[in-house]
Subunit: 214 residues, 2 copies
DNA sequence: CTAACAGTGGAACGGATCGTTCCGCTCTGC
DNA sequence: GCAGAGCGGAACGATCCGTTCCACTGTTAG
């Protein structure tokens, strides 16, 4: 193998570099399945020892934080991509489909509270909120989103989809798409529908998860 | 206080009888909030010692089983009540509203797997399935339920509502009603709607929770 | 060729949690 | 007044889990 500082590395270095990916992937899979899985489960799933984990992350909290932040960035990225779509309603539905498929909700909200967030995460979360608002505004403009739906109804919607879980991941994805279809149908404007009940979900009502667990 | 074997008891006996209720209520509240809360939390919430608990139940599993069975019976009772309603669609929606309000789903599905079920529970679960099917059939007959919705879509729906959680219980109820409204709107038949995607949820797909945790 | 070392596996440790038991106390019912 | 039902809560033992530590291995610089 090449030993110089070229692109491809052989031996230990290469294995180490590959482990970076393998470990992150394993962590995603494990914590997606169970937000409070032990760290040893991640190592086992990755097929490495525990040391390989602690060499890369200061502790469990560090790993969780990174994972959550990745999820948040994914959310923002999907929103930005969706905003490029010319059709207002399609932008809205495509965004939700992508986010549900990627299980971003489990990576962000369900992991919150298990670590102290960074300031950058706060900024990203704010940006995420702005982008979501923009998507909802455009969906309203298209006339296909029922007028009494608000941004924070997305929180309910994503929670509902993330709650669908069966052992098989692919089947989970299918059932979530079905759930999403029902919810989107329910959020579509129809001539004379009863208005949605109760005070609509408000800004701070879902932040409680982000506060440090007691 | 009367000491004879009349209806009202005074002193210790009365306190003990009252504790029966208090403890069950506390257990419901605690395990509804967190399915794997420690038993001590129940005792604390009830304002009694741990002994008072173990005097009534052989162990945690016993308590959980009873709680879950109660939830199942409640589900059946609500379904039977709903079936008395003449209007087919109203029977369907009223049933769901009652079940969601009572948080029956958290009492049954979310507690499953933490104990070995009894045969009677199996029978009740089967009866619950039959009643739910009857309600869905009538809803279909009314023409207001979209034709491609199936019984087991109720599982998704209830899961979605149970997933809504905020610290305040009353607010939780409001938000769940809103979620339910969206879902019911989505399940309502409209002239030319896209069919729901994917193979519909099937019979055995939600039973995995009832299998003993590995 | 070899000494230093980055990278690793996994045993071991210490703390936390939780179900259950047990003992001593109180107050009732006879 | 006494036997005992009912109870509070400390104590115990079993897990579980995050983190540390050490011995080992293959690589790489010189």
């Amino acid at each position: 193998m090449s030993t110089t500082s070229g692109k491809t590395l052989g031996g230990r270095r290469a294995q180490a570099a590959r482990n970076d990916e393998v470990i992150l992937e394993a962590a995603r899979a494990v914590f997606l399945d169970d937000p409070k899985a032990p760290i040893a489960a991640v190592a086992e799933r990755a097929g490495v020892g525990i040391s390989a984990l602690y060499r890369r992350y200061a502790g469990k909290e560090d790993l969780l934080r990174q994972l959550c932040h990745d999820g948040l960035r994914r959310y923002v990225a999907e929103a930005e991509t969706a905003l490029d779509e010319p059709d207002d309603w399609a932008a809205f539905t495509n965004f939700l489909t992508r986010v549900v498929d990627a299980d971003v909700h489990s990576l962000t909200v369900h992991l919150a509270g298990t670590f102290t967030p960074t300031e950058e995460m706060g900024r990203d979360a704010m940006r995420a909120g702005e982008l979501a608002t923009a998507l909802v505004d455009r969906a309203h403009a298209s006339g296909r989103l029922r007028p009494d739906a608000v941004v924070h109804d997305l929180g309910l919607l994503l929670e509902a989809c993330a709650a669908v879980r069966v052992p098989d991941p692919e089947r989970t994805r299918q059932l979530r798409r079905r759930q999403l279809a029902v919810l989107l149908a329910g959020l579509s404007s129809v001539p004379d529908a009863d208005p949605l009940p109760g005070p609509p979900p408000a800004a701070g009502e879902f932040d409680w998860r982000w506060r440090r667990r007691e």
